[in-house]
């Protein structure tokens, strides 16, 4: 009896989480202008999407920003994560972690004020910089946890056997924490590509990203074109999450 109840509540939770997504995906193939009733299958909305220059431009911007931001924040975050692991500093953890806890709207507003104060024209660059800023902390945490799971004597053993500090890092530490670094990069990418709040504050007039574009379309009317772009975005994120989970800490051989 209680087992059935557990199964039922489990199904209910998953339905609550995923049914709306299923609806979005299904209606992206609906041969009707309205998200109201099922008429028939069509690729029409995907064709509309592909000829929508504003939308494509926004998607291009989003990809460019996400790639740049995840790349830069992975390099900086790995360095920060290594510093967190290697040196027992008091202030550094607070500085790295705080942006994760501060409400996004606060980060957005303060970045806007900051960019205005230093006279930076709002646009792609300001979005990239703000995305890097909030992604670094996430990467640092993932990398640090990977490092603290590593036997501390491994890099020492490399030095002992004739490796310079740089060789020890490149040949031993780096391969061992690589899954953490890649997972951090993917996390940064997914955080960046669907960020709305911070982007909204730091985008200015010229540059638009996918989430901003979708939001501005919804203000007029929800056409199935929005469903189509959402479906594509969902597929991309899903793919990245699967890749990231494959690279979870226990995936390395021999441990």
């Amino acid at each position: 009896m209680s087992k059935k109840l557990l199964a039922a509540s489990g199904i209910a939770v998953y339905a609550f989480l995923y049914l709306p997504l299923v609806v979005v995906v299904a209606y992206s193939f609906n041969n009707s202008k309205l998200n109201a009733e099922w008429v028939g299958f069509t690729w029409h909305w995907y064709q509309v999407l592909l000829s929508d220059d504003t939308m494509l431009k926004a998607a291009g911007n989003s990809l460019l920003i996400a790639l740049t931001a995840s790349l830069a924040s992975t390099v900086l975050g790995t360095m920060a994560g290594y510093a967190l692991y290697r040196y027992k500093l008091k202030l550094l953890p607070v500085l790295v972690m705080a942006p994760l806890a501060i409400p996004e709207i606060l980060v957005g507003v303060s970045l806007l004020i900051f960019f205005v104060a230093i006279n930076l024209t709002l646009g792609l660059l300001s979005i990239m910089l703000s995305h890097i800023a909030f992604c670094v902390g996430f990467v640092a945490i993932v990398v640090r946890s990977r490092l603290s799971g590593m036997d501390e004597s491994l890099p020492e053993a490399a030095r002992d056997l004739g490796a310079t500090p740089f060789q020890a890092f490149r040949l031993v530490t780096l391969p061992l924490i690589a899954p953490g670094i890649i997972a951090g990069a993917l996390l940064a990418f997914t955080l960046s590509i669907d960020d709305f709040v911070i982007t909204f504050f730091t985008a200015g007039v010229g540059a638009s990203t996918l989430p901003l574009q979708i939001y501005s379309m919804i203000k007029i009317a929800v056409t199935p074109e929005v469903n189509a772009i959402s479906t594509l975005l969902m597929l991309l994120t899903l793919f990245l999450i699967v890749v990231a989970s494959r690279l979870s800490p226990d995936s390395i051989r021999g441990r």
């Binding site: 002992d160 004739g162 061992l176």
Partner: protein, 360 residues
């Protein structure tokens, strides 16, 4: 000139002095052991020799050259870590090849030496495996092979057998002795296990509180401990408070409260000195009745308690007025695991030179 000369090494961590003015010479070809309880400074000293840590003062000379300015990767010293520290993302063969790759040897030579090395440790068929797929004993052998493949001047071993079970440990001890003889490389071995130290070493430095308490051959450490700590830490030992009443050239008479006069070997104490009598239980004869012999201390007492250990039985005998002396009896008589019961009257005896007087 000694291979490694250690001069007045001091290492402090904040208020704690881990290594407190240690000096020792380690000869080429020696199996040298640093023995002591955890926190005695033995591992810190080993890390400084390897170059992972630096002393605040003092110096270390390898072949007469100061090690202070030499980075760990440049020292002809390799380490076998307690955790083995095998690289989990490399195969056994790649692990062993690592030090050779760092020296930029040719591919052909690396392959040949790795093959030879795998053969030496009887792991020829395991070269392609990852460390995670090996047993504890095999990992141990890979760690040894990797540390020896470069022929270092000095091999440091940090409790390398601690993670193995007892049977395997004994087997590995024999392998280590033979290996060291074969390769002729100087070993510095760190352990807290005194039987391991006695079994393996040419010389042992017993450390405590960052200082060397005694540095000697295993039999000297065991038979003639220099002080109370060494006597107590190595093996089991009767430690009985005593005062010197007559100090002769080689022999002495000790006054022990509750027991009376006891003859002992004089290591150089003078009359009136206070200290302890150190007496190994296996050197005490015990039986229901003992014929007295020359130069022996002889006492009558009662069995206070006993511990049956299988191969031997340890008897705690009460003699005189509440003095307890431990005596060891091998259980060699078949079918009779013990011959004495608690409360039985018993006699004990030991030659005067079985006991040592220790100051303080």
């Amino acid at each position: 000139m000694a291979l490694l000369e250690i001069r007045n090494i001091v290492r402090r961590f904040g208020d704690f002095t881990a290594v407190d003015g240690v000096s020792m010479d380690i000869e080429a070809g020696e199996f040298f052991t640093l023995l002591g309880p955890s926190g005695c400074g033995k591992t810190t000293l080993l890390r400084m020799i390897a170059g992972f840590d630096s002393p605040q003062s003092g110096e270390m000379l390898l072949d007469g050259k100061d090690l202070a300015s030499i980075a760990p990767e440049k020292r002809p010293i390799h380490t076998v870590f307690q955790s083995y520290a095998l690289f989990p993302h490399m195969t056994v063969a790649e692990n062993i090849a690592f030090p050779l790759r760092m020296r930029k040897l040719g591919k052909g030579e690396i392959g040949e030496r790795v093959r030879q090395s795998l053969e030496d440790v009887r792991l020829t068929d395991r070269g392609g495996r990852y460390p995670g797929e090996l047993s504890g004993g095999q990992r141990q052998r890979v760690a040894l092979a990797r540390a020896l493949v470069n022929r270092p001047r000095l091999l440091l071993l940090d409790e390398p057998l601690a993670a193995l079970d007892m049977k395997l440990r004994e087997q590995m001890q024999l392998e280590l002795i033979n290996l060291q003889k074969e390769v002729g490389i100087t070993f510095i071995y760190v352990t807290h296990d005194q039987t391991e130290a006695l079994a393996l070493s040419h010389r042992i430095a017993v450390m405590n509180g960052g200082k060397v308490e005694q540095l000697d051959e295993p039999s000297k450490i065991y038979d003639s401990p220099k002080n109370r700590f060494v006597a107590d830490f190595i093996g089991t030992c009767n430690l009985i408070d005593a005062e010197v009443s007559v100090a002769g050239e080689e022999k002495m008479v000790l006054q022990i409260r509750g027991l009376g006069e006891v003859a002992a070997r004089n290591p150089g104490a003078t009359g009136g000195a206070k200290g302890i009598l150190a007496l190994r239980p296996e050197k005490v004869r015990i039986a229901a009745q003992l014929a007295p012999e020359d130069d022996e201390n002889h006492f009558k007492g009662r069995v206070h308690d006993f511990l049956y250990m299988g191969d031997v039985t340890v008897y705690i005998v009460e003699v005189g007025d509440g003095v307890h002396v431990e005596a060891l009896l091998p259980n060699s008589a078949a079918g009779r695991p013990r011959i004495l019961a608690v409360g039985d009257p018993v006699e004990i005896a030991w030659r005067y030179d079985a006991g040592t007087f220790l100051d303080g």
